[in-house]
Symmetry: C2
Subunit: 226 residues, 2 copies
């Protein structure tokens, strides 16, 4: 049992970040009634190299069969277990603007491992509105919703200006993992896990690569001329 936990403890971050992708690819295979899959095939569906996939899976344990491949159902279970998805995690969404609504009504939430337990907004105009089985509550309810010590994930979908305040409230209430969609960096105390998703960051990274492309085309023309 201690071996089991030790195996989990040192999964590299890069591997953890790819496990959800493998899980999704396995889900598609399950729907298609595929029972077994090779590292080559699974890697292709997930968009990585087969060597990387095998190395990643080797950190969870030895769940494949040499000469054959991986049992789809068993590998699905093992990855879910490694990620901690064998039970549902409660999620609180703060900020019921366009993005908050989109997130609240996003089906994929419920599918695997998560359950939206509350929708919150500061604006009294929005409080009381019903969205998909849940009623929007005022920020003050946060404390009664979160039990310190029991894990809960907070999602920030407010404008950038309120994001830090909301993060502080979440942390004060006992939330120890935060997913931030607001267009600003927020500071959280050590021990709180924070991840950030940001549209303009992603677009700017794409812009950089587009620009590189134009620059290299220009260079080739110059070389041809020179």
């Amino acid at each position: 049992m201690s071996v089991d936990q030790a195996a989990k403890r040192d999964i590299p971050d890069a591997t953890v970040a790819r496990l959800p992708g493998y899980l999704r690819a396995l889900g598609q295979l399950t729907v298609q009634d595929v029972l077994s899959v090779s590292s080559e095939e699974l890697a292709h569906s997930a968009g990585v190299s087969s060597a990387k996939l095998r190395k990643d899976l080797s950190h969870l344990g030895s769940y494949g069969v040499r000469g054959v491949g991986y049992d789809v159902a068993h590998l699905t279970y093992q990855i879910s277990r490694a990620l901690g998805l064998t039970h549902d995690w409660p999620v609180v969404i703060v900020g019921m603007g366009n993005l908050g609504r989109a997130l609240a009504s996003y089906g994929g939430f419920a599918t695997k491992g998560f359950k939206v337990v509350a929708l919150l907004d500061r604006d009294p105009q929005l409080v009381g509105e019903r969205l998909d089985e849940l009623t929007v509550q005022p920020m003050g309810e946060l404390v009664s919703l979160v039990t310190p010590g029991e894990a809960c994930i907070g999602v920030i979908a407010t404008p950038a200006a309120s994001a830090q305040d909301v993060a502080d409230l979440l942390v004060a209430a006992g939330v120890s993992s935060i997913l931030n969609f607001a267009a600003t960096a927020i500071q959280v105390p050590e021990g709180v896990h924070m991840r950030k998703v940001d549209l303009s960051t992603e677009l700017q990274i794409l812009a950089f690569h587009e620009q590189q492309r134009s620059a290299s085309v220009a260079d080739e023309l110059l070389e041809g001329a020179g």
Copy 2:
């Protein structure tokens, strides 16, 4: 001039991914009329270490003043230029469900470097609807909107089931950078840049860390008992 371009060409990926964060932090300083900033301060606002910030900036050139710090306006310009944000890039959003609407009405788009030029949806019911200055168009219009050879960024905000088809259409029309919000991995030909943003992936990564936390708490209790 060739030196200039060579300097840009080998900015490490990890650095490129952080430049947007620096740009945002600089924007906040600009609003507060701060003229100059040290690597320590800027790094703190962006949520990275000062050594990392300095190393990152050193890849763009030498734009700081020793003993003083960085000029906010000049550094903003240099980072914008490195990212290719000195002119606006056209963006096409495909899929006008909840998420697509949220993205379309997200102000941050326009702010720096991007301009939404079209909203598309397959569903005839949605075509013709007006959203923020733009009218939703049918997929068929894609070809007339994108000029092959001229850069354009495509955003996929459709359900997972249609994502691959939409990606194929975008690529066929000449789009060479794609941002995928759909909950599935999509395959694109070499030379097309693809990035993926995914809610459940992010939540699953947070779940992993929450689970690690519980596991280590459990271990400490065991150690105390043993």
